[in-house]
């Protein structure tokens, strides 16, 4: 069973739709028991880091997420808040992964980045079966710096982290649930971890 963390993230429905298209069984939940028991956990995210963190704290989900032992996939803001800190609203985040989230420089590039970008990945099960430099769809104004946990990068003014892995915690800056066949392959890879 897959648990999708329920906290009102904007792309929850899209993630549910993507899992339905893969005929995967899932539950949308904010209950500790269901999240801890799930084989896989998906942590969606669209919106503001500060708002995201306050909702998580309000529901006690911040503590629960840190305790997850099975593979967890954070998407977009769901990935960003796995880091220590975000410049968006000067937010202290979950601190599961070392590093900071910064804002794109609007003097250099159009912000937000909206659209399909190529992804350069290291060998990782998450990218199994994908072509070299696959396209994924992203929408964001903030990005995670490159660090030890970076498993894929993309370039937009600067090179940033487009996917991470730290032990059982995975994350993508892009939206696999909106990235057509490449996204489908990636989600399937995650489910097979």
């Amino acid at each position: 069973m897959i648990a999708i963390i329920k906290y009102g993230a904007g792309n929850t429905k899209s993630v549910m739709n993507a899992l339905k298209r893969l005929n995967a069984d899932f539950v949308l939940t904010d209950l500790e028991s269901e999240i801890m028991q799930a084989d896989k956990v998906i942590f969606p995210g669209v919106g503001h880091a500060n708002h995201t963190m306050s909702v998580l704290k309000e529901k006690g989900l911040d503590t629960i997420i840190r305790k997850v032992k099975n593979p967890l996939l954070g998407i977009c803001v769901g990935m960003q808040v796995l880091f220590e800190y975000s410049e968006e609203g000067e937010t202290a985040c979950l601190g599961i992964i070392e590093g900071k989230v910064r804002k794109f420089d609007s003097d250099q590039v159009i912000v937000p980045q909206i659209g399909w970008n190529t992804t350069q990945y290291k060998e990782n099960s998450l990218f199994k079966g994908l072509d070299e430099n696959p396209w994924f769809y992203s929408v964001h104004s903030y990005y995670a710096e490159i660090g030890d946990s970076t498993i894929a990068t993309s370039s937009y003014g600067e090179v940033y982290t487009s996917a991470v892995q730290h032990s059982n915690f995975y994350g993508t800056q892009f939206h696999p649930e909106k990235s057509s066949s490449n996204g489908k392959i990636l989600i399937n890879n995650f489910l097979e971890l």
Binding site: G10, I110, G115, H175
Partner: protein, 251 residues
């Protein structure tokens, strides 16, 4: 590298596509989902659904349609057309729309821009601007391009970005339907003026028009309707030609 986006637009009335299509092998040319899936398979980067239903049933049919589109489509899509309230925006986003587009409502109530942007983030809000060049000045038009609001367009665009618009969908009324090419000059000016993505609309008639658009302006997306519906421009061919012209495109 980020790709320029090709965006087919579907006009919807009472849950069905209008204006027809030339896809003879579609089971039902009026079914927006079948057409949308076709475009997604051909490599469309995202889709815009413009609802022109003006009845009391609008809300219900639109929300139902958005829910269905979200189930079937695995690329991003925007919904626009007569969206005036935060309630409807809530429903559309919660039912799977990635972005909403507002036009007249933004002019009547600019505060709505800020409300949507603060609640969901600017990335889910497209402000559509229908511009018409009168003499030397660009004016904002509403009601399908029939009503001159008297508002100067470039000032308005600057204002809506300040209020929280994450993207601008600019339609040139002068060019719309002419198939004579995009409004390069105004689009170039706008893309230098603002730092959010711009979707260009109005005037696309052939592949070369998209090449000119991306070579001569900083816009990040080109939108068209009938040339795709009637197969005057084939999306895979268009994308190959853009790539040959060294324009970053997803193939």
């Amino acid at each position: 590298m980020i790709a320029k986006r090709i965006v087919p637009c579907l006009d919807i009335k009472d849950g069905r596509t209008v204006k027809g299509t030339n896809f003879l092998d579609l089971r039902d040319a009026g079914d927006p989902i079948e057409l949308a899936k076709r475009y997604a398979d051909q490599g469309a980067d995202e889709l815009v659904f413009l609802d022109i239903t003006a009845t009391l049933e609008k809300r219900k049919t639109l929300v139902t349609l958005v829910e269905k589109i979200g189930r079937e489509l695995d690329i991003p899509f925007t919904v626009g057309g007569g969206i005036r309230t935060l309630d409807l925006v809530d429903e559309l986003l919660q039912n799977g729309a990635d972005k909403v587009s507002i036009n007249s409502a933004a002019i009547k109530n600019p505060n709505l821009i800020t409300e949507i942007s603060e609640k969901y983030g600017c990335q889910c809000l497209v402000v559509a601007v229908d511009g018409n060049k009168i003499g030397d000045e660009w004016k904002v038009f509403t009601r399908g391009g029939t009503h001159n609001t008297g508002i100067e367009m470039f000032g308005w665009v600057e204002q809506v970005v300040g209020l929280g618009a994450g993207e601008i969908l600019f339609t040139s009324m002068n060019k719309d339907g002419t198939k004579s090419g995009f409004e390069i000059e105004a689009l170039n000016k706008m893309s230098q003026q603002i730092q959010v993505p711009i979707i260009a609309s109005g005037g696309a008639g052939n592949i070369e028009h998209f090449v000119q658009l991306f070579q001569n302006t900083g816009v990040t997306a080109g939108l068209a309707a009938s040339i795709f519906h009637f197969r005057e421009v084939d999306i895979p061919e268009l994308k190959q030609e853009l790539q040959l012209n060294k324009i970053s495109i997803r193939i």
